[in-house]
Symmetry: C2
Subunit: 416 residues, 2 copies
């Protein structure tokens, strides 16, 4: 039955759906639940005392400014920090390249807003970040997908696909959400080269890059891309739109992200932001700047890496210990997620209620495939649970998985 | 010459322009400048010590939660406060009616996102809030405008216009930005009645309503509208989408706004927010809740009203004292703005560089008319300058105005 409102909604709302993950997390918010579902950082290592000291300093020294409106582009010292941080990654940028956003999610929304006409072809990994799909669906793109393996997005078919009128390609190079895999240096170079040759922009989403547990960091695509373009007066004018965030290295509740883009794109982003919310929280930007501006942040990142690495290892060990044969998983070198593939025939959406009953939760993998995909995958978060909890949670989960591998009783027939 | 990026931008970006006001404010950010341009609250009465105490309390008692992700809908206690506040205005709402947004600007963007198809007819006051026009232009509406006088939006032609396939009408009932006028009770009732009869939703934008200097408050349109609808279990299911903010009664830098909408609309708003930025700052929501939850907020609002009333009076007095004959202005009963109309033939855009030279700034009025309008108007902010500064600023401005009323030397011929 049509409500009085439905006929009034704009066509684009048909593409807008409630976030599967966010709805699912409501179910899992119960005592005794072990949740590998969310992408929550470990709250027990949030630098609460540091944040308190930063709030104090900001309010004492600059209270009037920190509580007032500021420029849409963002608090200048924080943008300068973004530029210094980019320089450490290997790229020279100027303030004209930088916009502070409300998390990198907002940067993705703006990418959709300024680039996607209904029906435009957008190239993504498969699976890819669900939040990007959700942001862009309102703009009505057609997704062209490329499979992803342990070395990230496959490049062997890329050139053919890129030649088919692609508006932009979307890449998560480091510890990709949802799979946790890292795009190899060779493939990064191939992707950047192909993108430049065909004049197709790259949107590089890098929220986890600093959380590398082992091995050497690989340059981001924007750094590789800089070789293809003349940098004018320290201003990046290349082919990559890069976004990152403080959510995973400081605190997601502050909602501080940023986007680095060529000046013409940044100008459009700023216009989009003016219309969208005028600016991100002045106060959070001031507080965040106090926290990131000196060496302490690096120490804190080392702590996060240490804790998450232990948890990743705990999960890998628990998989080895408990998971039935035929189950495979990725072995991320960093970040917050692992990707589990169950034996053929196991459906992780159908298993989900059984898991919740056993007080363990995950995110079924199918929604991460923009055009649909296998139903026997799941995303597992490693950051939010302690090692012993991870062990117990994986044990419970393995019992569920084992049930689905026994054909006769694969799924309960009826459920009340 | 086309840049390599321009041909890639989506069609909707053609409607996106840099905010005239935000660009203008960059010019006026000079020492000795007296600016009546921005809509800045008075920073010298920001409750800095209270904010510091709130940060301290939040971090001490709930630090882990306050720095973590929270639900898209917003921090539940803050939403409960919105419900209590609405009840004081005279309307029963439930949490299913409420979404916390990044300022009320974001609520306006979401209105555009979920309602406006390209070419849809949107009815607005003329002049109206520039930020709404800017947010909606990306969605390509056609504006149908209604003139505004000292009693707000005119209603005598409204019925005819509303019958012409209007998607929604947009009303700022209290101390309207830019004119400072208040929509009369009689007209509010007429507008709500017409809107319900024709099934046209009302978007009610009320950032200043609590800043009433004198006289009795008039019920918001959503309260009047409730009579037309059955309220189910305390959930509002009427025809009005109401938005407000803490920006003008607490601090704009925290970027806390909210929207009250029927549940079907709220659900779409939540989906829009998930795609747009997942959620507003958890930390700012926790801190804001500590500040608004008890009676202190009312005391603080009394202080703001006292200060702004003095400033409004100072400006009205200065107009009387300095402005040449033929200049008229509104006499707002609250809020942050006055509207000045210069003698015919004075062009406030052309006068602007002369004013800046004399170290005084305002916002030219023409951009506030969605379909164009008179060029001899300007918006004057009363909240950001002390009475003696207002007097001096108006004196300078009156000298400029006087120049433009002398025909022979109306504008300088050439300017270097």
């Amino acid at each position: 039955m049509q409500t009085p409102w439905e006929h009034r909604f704009a066509h684009r709302t048909e593409g807008m759906k409630s976030s599967f993950i966010r709805e699912l997390l409501k179910v899992t918010d119960q005592p005794d639940m072990i949740s590998f579902g969310g992408g929550f950082p470990a709250a027990e290592i949030f630098p609460i005392d540091r944040v308190r000291a930063a709030c104090d300093k900001v309010l004492t020294e600059k209270g009037r400014k920190a509580l007032q409106y500021t420029t849409t582009e963002g608090y200048a010292p924080l943008r300068e920090w973004v530029a210094r941080d980019a320089k450490k990654m290997g790229i020279n940028i100027s303030l004209d390249n930088i916009l502070i956003t409300t998390g990198s999610q907002q940067a993705l929304d703006f990418v959709g807003r300024i680039f996607i006409n209904r029906g435009d072809r957008v190239l993504t990994e498969s699976p890819t970040y669900l939040g990007a799909i959700q942001a862009w669906n309102a703009y009505g793109p057609h997704y062209v997908t490329v499979d992803t393996d342990e070395d990230g997005m496959l490049t062997d078919q890329l050139e053919q696909l890129v030649a088919t009128n692609i508006k932009f390609m979307y890449v998560l190079p480091n510890f990709q959400n949802p799979m946790g895999v890292t795009l190899s240096h060779t493939r990064r170079k191939q992707i950047v080269e192909i993108a430049n040759r065909h004049g197709v922009p790259i949107v590089e989403d890098d929220p986890y890059g600093k959380l590398l547990f082992e091995g050497e960091p690989i340059p981001p695509l924007c750094v590789i891309d800089e070789e293809y373009h003349s940098n004018q007066d320290g201003c990046y004018s290349g082919n990559v739109i890069y976004t990152s965030t403080l959510s995973k290295i400081l605190a997601p509740g502050l909602r501080i992200g940023w986007v680095i883009a060529p000046p013409q794109v940044n100008k459009k982003m700023v216009q989009a932001k003016q219309g969208a919310d005028l600016q991100s929280s002045t106060f959070d930007q001031y507080v965040a700047y106090e926290l990131v501006k000196d060496e302490w942040l690096n120490e804190h990142i080392e702590l996060i890496k240490k804790v998450y690495k232990e948890r990743r290892d705990a999960m890998l060990n628990a998989f080895e210990k408990y998971m039935p044969e035929g189950t495979t998983w990725t072995k991320p070198a960093g970040g917050l997620f692992l990707w589990l593939r169950l034996p053929d025939g196991c459906d992780t959406v159908k298993l989900f209620p059984m898991a919740v009953e056993e007080k363990v939760a995950y995110v079924p993998g199918e929604p991460f495939y923009p055009n649909g995909g296998p139903t026997n995958t799941m995303r597992m978060n490693v950051s939010a649970s302690k090692p012993e909890v991870i062990d117990e949670g994986v044990r419970r989960l393995a019992n569920i998985v084992r049930r689905c591998t026994m054909p006769a009783i694969r799924y309960p027939r009826t459920r009340e």
